[in-house]
């Protein structure tokens, strides 16, 4: 029990001043619109922790920026509140986090990173009509299930491989067709195996000679045998499709053993367009090409965001711009829906023509949940930087191909 004490002159003055200040600021008195909860799902522990962490950074930067600019306008300046879930690099944890997010009342969910997590999580979200924006997950099964709530902002596997093959042919033709023989190196999971199969079919039809297709598991501790095999076959082109660790190992082994094909042309590679690889192993990384997700270098916001990420002591990985853009896409849909109602948000997502993102896609257009304007770009490591070499419309460097010396 608190004893009642006579108000002193000082306390009376203080209360009066506080009251006056409150009355003088009606803007502050007006109730702040309740926050819009946005689920951010990323695998920040387990095998995919690096990617998950970068995805989270991208989402966080977008949310901070939206909030700083006054929140969701149509909802009275409601702030976006992040409800974060760790998918622990497996689909069960991913769907369990979706259940939690639903219970916490999120309006939409962004993320997932890996295809299996995206598949399970978007399906769990569909039960509650929660709009789910896939950030990376490239498996084309994600958008082929007829789920009304699932949207993928970035390109899927089919689009990436088609573009990669088209650009490879363009690259080779422009250089006077120096590459005739190819060795495919791939990890034995979803990316690698599917890609190797497609490459085998398409490249043979286009006149390339596939000397050998070498599969390796993930994780692999040693790539010397793969490198030795490449030396023996002496191909013009090496096309690797692996995760970070394995590709770094392969590139370093090739460099150490002085195996120098005319080009290394990676597709959806975990390392070839990763600044960590470029900084840590600049010689091994030099001139490696990749066809992957990449932010649009023409947009001023890209450089600004990159600076922010680097100021945090982090590398510039594609997860950041993809998640940044996906969060902004969802925020735009919520703004247009003018409501926290999940079904209305799904409808707004489906009709989205969002262009204020930093990927090289143009305005979004969703067909069966897939952004049909999404496209990958070709990059090449040149002089310690990652440059865009295709498409020509916004390439900031000419391709170095064939690599000599």
């Amino acid at each position: 029990m608190t004893a009642w004490t006579e108000p002193t002159r000082r306390s009376l003055l203080a209360t009066g001043a506080a009251g006056a200040a409150l009355l003088a600021s009606p803007g502050l008195l007006r109730a702040q619109a309740p926050a819009v909860k946005l689920g951010i799902l990323q695998p920040v522990t387990g095998a995919l922790a690096q990617d998950g962490e970068y995805g989270r950074i991208g989402a966080q930067l977008a949310i901070d920026e939206i909030n700083k600019a006054g929140g969701i306008k149509s909802l009275g300046g409601a702030m976006i509140e992040m409800v974060f879930g760790d998918a622990r690099s497996n689909p069960e944890a991913g769907s369990q986090e979706v259940e939690k997010m639903h219970a916490e009342g999120v309006s939409a969910i962004v993320g997932g990173f890996a295809s299996p997590i995206c598949l399970a999580a978007s399906q769990a979200a569909s039960r509650y009509d929660i709009a789910y924006a896939v950030d990376v997950g490239v498996s084309d099964q994600i958008v082929s299930r007829g789920l009304k709530n699932t949207f993928r902002f970035g390109p899927g596997f089919g689009t990436v491989t088609r573009t990669a093959i088209e650009n490879l042919v363009k690259l080779n033709d422009a250089a006077g067709k120096p590459a005739k023989t190819v060795v495919l190196v791939h990890e034995d999971g979803l990316f690698g195996s599917g890609l190797a199969k497609l490459m085998n079919e398409r490249l043979s039809a286009l006149g390339f000679q596939i000397l050998e297709t070498i599969a390796h598991p993930t994780p692999a501790r040693d790539m010397s045998n793969v490198a030795l095999r490449i030396r023996a076959l002496n191909p013009d082109l090496v096309i690797p499709s692996s995760y970070y660790g394995e590709f770094v190992l392969l590139a370093r082994t090739l460099q150490q053993q002085r195996i120098r094909p005319k080009g290394i042309y990676a597709v959806l590679n975990g390392a070839a367009s990763n600044f960590r690889f470029v900084r840590e192993f600049p010689d091994a990384a030099n001139n490696v090409m990749d066809c992957n997700h990449w932010a649009d270098p023409r947009k001023p916001k890209t450089a600004e965001l990159r600076k922010q990420v680097e100021a945090m002591g982090r590398f510039w990985l594609y997860n950041v711009p993809l998640n940044y853009s996906s969060v902004r896409l969802v925020a735009d849909a919520i703004d247009r829906a003018g409501s926290r109602d999940r079904v209305k948000i799904i409808e707004a997502m489906a009709s989205s023509t969002f262009a204020d993102h930093i990927m090289p896609y143009g305005p979004t257009k969703f067909e069966n949940g897939q952004n049909v304007n999404a496209a990958p770009v070709n990059t090449q490591v040149q002089g310690g930087d990652i440059k865009v070499i295709f498409p020509d419309t916004f390439a900031d460097a000419k391709p170095v191909f064939p690599v000599t010396g």
Binding site: D86, P91, E92, S95, L119, Q123, S193
Partner: protein, 340 residues
């Protein structure tokens, strides 16, 4: 009947759990009812896989490190029969158990005829699971590395339910059936032979037990039960790939749950699964409440430390701990343990 009474009490308590859900949610332990059901369904699926392991590993002493081979076979049969051959999910489930059992019998025949025991048997099962994983990853019928996706069609006929409670009861039905089966097994001649094989295989053989036959029967039954867990996983998540179905994670879960809960006991796998998965989830929720999402992975550290503590203080599993303090044994709640 007396021997089953205590189990029936446990099963009835589990079946009545949904009544407690509003209280648990109200107390802030779970974010919502479905968060609870989702967790419970996963615990029950792991329990089923662990119950399977417990028959060969716990009662029979045949420590398998490769129960993923059976879990994965069940999961893939359930998925592939539905997606490629249009078989109904309810028909696919017994077939998944059957094929899982056959794989168990095949691996068992090869390993036991070669007289592999102890760590050699463990290594061979591990190798088999890896071979299955690589094959599933490379074969077109399993969808290769892209995995197999069962189309989402909610309906009783498709074994896909709008309400999580229904799936909870489906999984509980299987777990309960295996609990009763385990108790029957403990009390049967076959169960006694199995324990005899575990305790001293040579002595059992000398006493006239056909050890090969007993071990084969055990691993076949064990595999079939674990395969049902795989099939339920498919129905719950509707997507599997080689790493989910045949990955080492499930081999570890299947053996860790009985070891933590109480090896060679009827309730051990369930207690272990609740402790392991519940502990993991509790650590995650608690750390999240304290630190937010700022420090990913701390919950796993806490989980690891708790696991070490459990194993240090309860080397015979959590049920062994209860027995030590004579808490439940006095009331005969958990019945007799399987002879160890």
């Amino acid at each position: 009947m007396k021997a089953y009474r205590s189990l029936l009490v446990v099963i009835a308590a589990l079946a009545a759990l949904p009544l407690a859900v509003p209280l648990l949610v109200g107390a802030g332990l779970f974010a919502g009812p479905n968060t609870f059901y989702n967790l419970m369904i996963f615990i029950l699926i792991i329990t089923l896989a662990a119950q399977g392991w417990n028959i060969a590993g716990g009662y029979g002493g045949q420590f398998s490190f490769g129960h993923a081979a059976f879990f994965g076979t069940g999961a893939y049969v359930q998925a592939v029969l539905q997606t490629r051959y249009g078989v109904n999910a309810w028909v696919a489930l017994p077939l998944a158990a059957l094929l899982g059992g056959l794989v168990g019998a095949a691996i068992g025949t090869l390993a036991f005829r070669a007289r592999l025991r102890g760590s050699y048997f463990a290594l061979v099962t591990l190798a088999f699971a890896e071979v299955f994983r690589i094959l599933a990853n490379a074969t077109p019928i399993t969808g290769g590395a892209a995995g197999t996706l069962v189309p989402l069609k909610i309906g009783l006929g498709q074994m896909q339910f709008a309400s999580s409670t229904t799936f909870f009861y489906l999984a509980l039905t299987f777990v309960a059936a295996v609990l009763l089966l385990n108790r029957a097994l403990e009390r049967s001649r076959f169960g006694a032979w199995l324990v005899a094989v575990r305790e001293n295989e040579d002595a059992a053989r000398a006493l006239g037990v056909d050890t090969l036959k007993v071990k084969l029967k055990a691993i076949t039954l064990s595999a079939a039960i674990t395969a049902v867990a795989g099939a339920l996983y498919t129905q719950k998540f509707l997507y599997i790939d080689a790493n989910i179905a045949y990955g080492a994670w499930i081999s570890v879960e299947a053996l860790l749950a009985p070891i933590v809960g109480g090896i060679g006991t009827v309730l051990g796998p369930f207690i272990g699964a609740v402790a392991l998965i519940g502990l993991g989830e509790a650590a995650k929720t608690a750390i999240h409440a304290v630190f937010g999402s700022a420090v990913p992975g701390v919950d796993l550290v806490v989980y690891g430390v708790l696991l070490i503590v459990v194993i240090a203080f309860a080397p015979r599993g959590l049920l062994g701990l209860f027995g030590k303090f004579d808490l439940f044994a006095r009331f005969g709640i958990f019945g007799k343990r399987g002879g160890r």
